[in-house]
């Protein structure tokens, strides 16, 4: 069996971790923050205050553990469900709210992240290019691309892994296998028994990890990053997780997903419950701490939502402003025509 060649790395079940208590605590806090944010965002969408939103419910360990294993100077190349990783990397949550309000949130120039990629897997070659740039500029930074099980079906997945292997690029392909690509189950994406085994075809390293075990994700991504920094090339990581929510707020998983599958993951494999239990068992968390962490998350989210909602509505010029650094002459005329129509409105 192919899966036997790719052991699933787990830490929480082993009872001990070498990660510092401080980092363990941060991982837990950020998972709570992400879960709380997603729950709030779903409410905001139901109230009509934001548009369609893709929650990461159930994937908190994969998002938070992976991003914490990077340095600030590494590149995050996200797909559309990776606001958790971006948040850890330094993106204000107010920007995530703005994005869901149909606006273009400004990335800080200091943030080493590309804008959220909407098309599937076409951003994977960008991560290769960022890694090649780091390689040629002589830094030891790495790039990490986020994508899902559905993304492995795209041609750009193949091209990116193939290029990365040939150029030995310091890049990590972090695949969150959450079981579903909207309504299509993992088994309909590929006849491969695992996703990680695809690494073999490209001559690159592969790791399989329990994606609901935040300490295991943190460890495996950290090892892949260290490997890349040493010049040993790319790694494909298959992080086994589960999308406990809908694809987006516009989706209804009850149309296609067996209810008992969801119940099983929710009751016995929830990443936050597992890490919370682990911390309490090791005396690193009390119920009072837990309550305080959850309250702090709510307070922070409230402030971020208020910051986003306090911004003035967009102006027509905003869609012209940044397309080119040096805009063509015709832009001014096109913008003026729209602005005149608005002012006549």
């Amino acid at each position: 069996m192919m899966s036997e060649s790719w052991p699933v790395v787990e830490v929480l079940s082993g009872g001990a971790s070498e990660v510092s208590a401080e980092v363990q605590r941060r991982l837990y806090e950020d998972m709570i923050l992400l879960r709380s944010f997603d729950e709030r965002a779903i409410n905001l969408q139901r109230q009509g205050r934001i548009g369609t939103f893709p929650p990461s419910l159930g994937q908190e360990a994969s998002e938070i553990g992976s991003a914490h294993a990077l340095r600030a100077s590494d590149w995050v190349v996200p797909s559309y469900r990776d606001h958790g990783a971006l948040m850890v990397h330094g993106l204000p949550l107010s920007n995530v709210v703005l994005f869901a309000m149909g606006r273009t949130p400004s990335l800080s120039s200091a943030l080493k992240a590309l804008p959220t990629s909407i098309p599937i897997a076409t951003h994977l070659p960008h991560a290769v290019g960022l890694a090649v740039a780091a390689q040629k500029l002589g830094t030891d930074d790495v790039a990490m691309a986020y994508f899902g099980d559905g993304g492995t079906s795209e041609g750009d997945f193949h091209e990116a892994l193939n290029f990365a292997g040939v150029f030995k690029a310091p890049v990590i392909f972090f695949c969150q296998n959450n079981g579903w690509a909207i309504s299509v189950p993992r088994a309909r994406q590929t006849a491969s028994e695992t996703l990680v085994q695809k690494a073999v075809a490209y001559g690159i390293a592969g790791r399989r990890v329990d994606g609901n075990d935040v300490l295991a994700v943190y460890q495996v991504v950290g090892e892949a990053a260290a490997r890349a920094r040493r010049g040993e090339g790319p790694t494909l990581i298959e992080s086994l997780t589960y999308r406990m929510g809908p694809h987006t707020t516009a989706d209804d998983p009850s149309r296609y997903r067996p209810a008992d599958e969801y119940q099983d993951w929710k009751e016995s494999r929830d990443p936050i419950q597992r890490m919370g239990g682990f911390l309490m068992a090791h005396g690193l968390l009390t119920p009072e701490d837990d309550q305080a962490i959850r309250q702090a998350a709510q307070d922070r989210i409230q402030a971020e939502v208020e910051a986003a909602e306090a911004l003035a509505p967009v102006e027509p010029g905003g869609m012209f402003q940044y397309v080119f650094r040096d805009p063509p002459g015709d832009f001014a005329a096109q913008q003026r025509r729209i602005e005149e129509a608005v002012s006549r409105g």
């Binding site: 290019g129 790039a143 990116a160």
Partner: protein, 326 residues
């Protein structure tokens, strides 16, 4: 200064750009040891090393996607796509990403990417090696598109493209690579992105064109002048986006008549946009309807039909005569 053909001018331009800035990288299929299928990158790997001039796996989306990442990561990538007919898998990268990242990041990210792509017909190439899809590129917001038709402009526009902070596609007319030589300065110079060029000044009618078809227009102009029949002005757009509407308006206002000439298929071709620009800038000067001389709405045919497909002097002269008659 020496006389050079277009391919030699491009090779010299690439050599100088590589020499002056360590961030410049030249890559694509067969560009390394082989020096490119048209030899545009000949000897560059020997001179600048295989870290800066290198072959990629054979995959156009991978090439352009990697190039986008390299550009954002602080390099100045010059990617070669071997033929425009093979650009289609890479269009996703240009349309979904290269043209959007600056806007999507509110200007925090720029993509100083240059894509060189040989295009067009006229050399009896195998099927699907002769496409001209400038209309698709010009219709993609966020991209600049330039097309030299002379050795001088080929080097100068390439330099301007590398200097530009935004993604630029340089369409290189295959048929003109080795057709004719011209004085091309040894030193660095840039031909600015934007302004069109009056390839021949005239008074009776303006032919607006680009790339390979500039040679056809000049040939027709010569024939009509020798016959004492007409004095054509030939406007070589050189940059297709942003389009030099002022130059189009100025020339057609002067001559009062225009024919638009391109080798891509007619329907949805860039000629329609040029005609719109004419009526926006020179409508009240027009003395006759504007004609288009283009490839027909058929897939670029196998080369037995090439001479029927490509606009030539006879078709252009016929259109010019009809336009002058009114």
């Amino acid at each position: 200064m020496a006389e050079r053909n277009m391919i030699a001018a491009i090779n010299l331009g690439l050599d100088q750009l590589l020499a002056e800035d360590a961030r410049v990288m030249v890559f694509g299929e067969d560009v390394g040891k082989n020096g490119g299928v048209f030899r545009a990158t000949e000897h560059l790997q020997e001179r600048h090393g295989d870290s800066r001039v290198f072959d990629t796996p054979l995959a156009e989306s991978g090439i352009l996607g990697m190039a986008i990442g390299m550009a954002v990561g602080g390099l100045k990538p010059i990617a070669e796509i071997q033929f425009m007919g093979f650009l289609y898998p890479g269009l996703d990268q240009l349309m979904s990403h290269a043209g959007r990242l600056a806007a999507r990041s509110q200007g925090q990210i720029h993509v100083p990417l240059v894509v060189r792509v040989p295009f067009g017909g006229g050399i009896r190439a195998p099927e699907q090696h002769a496409d001209s899809i400038e209309a698709l590129l010009v219709h993609t917001p966020g991209l600049k598109v330039v097309v030299p038709s002379t050795p001088y402009d080929a080097k100068g526009l390439l330099t301007a493209a590398v200097d530009d902070p935004d993604p630029v596609v340089v369409m290189e007319p295959i048929r003109l690579y080795r057709m004719g030589r011209q004085e091309v300065p040894d030193e660095r110079y840039a031909v600015p992105i934007g302004p069109a060029r009056i390839a021949r000044a005239g008074t009776s009618l303006t032919v607006i064109t680009w790339g390979n078809m500039v040679a056809v227009a000049l040939d027709a102009a010569r024939a009509l002048a020798e016959a004492g029949e007409a004095d054509l002005e030939v406007l070589d757009l050189r940059t297709l986006y942003p389009m030099d509407r002022e130059a189009i308006g100025a020339s057609v206002s002067k001559t009062g008549r225009a024919v638009v000439l391109h080798e891509a298929p007619m329907t949805g071709g860039l000629g329609g946009e040029v005609v719109a620009a004419i009526q926006e800038t020179a409508f009240w000067s027009l003395q006759a309807p504007v004609e288009r001389v283009t490839g027909p709405d058929v897939p670029y045919p196998p080369y037995a039909w090439e001479d029927f497909y490509l606009p030539n002097r006879e078709r252009l002269v016929a259109a010019v005569r009809r336009t002058l008659k009114d």
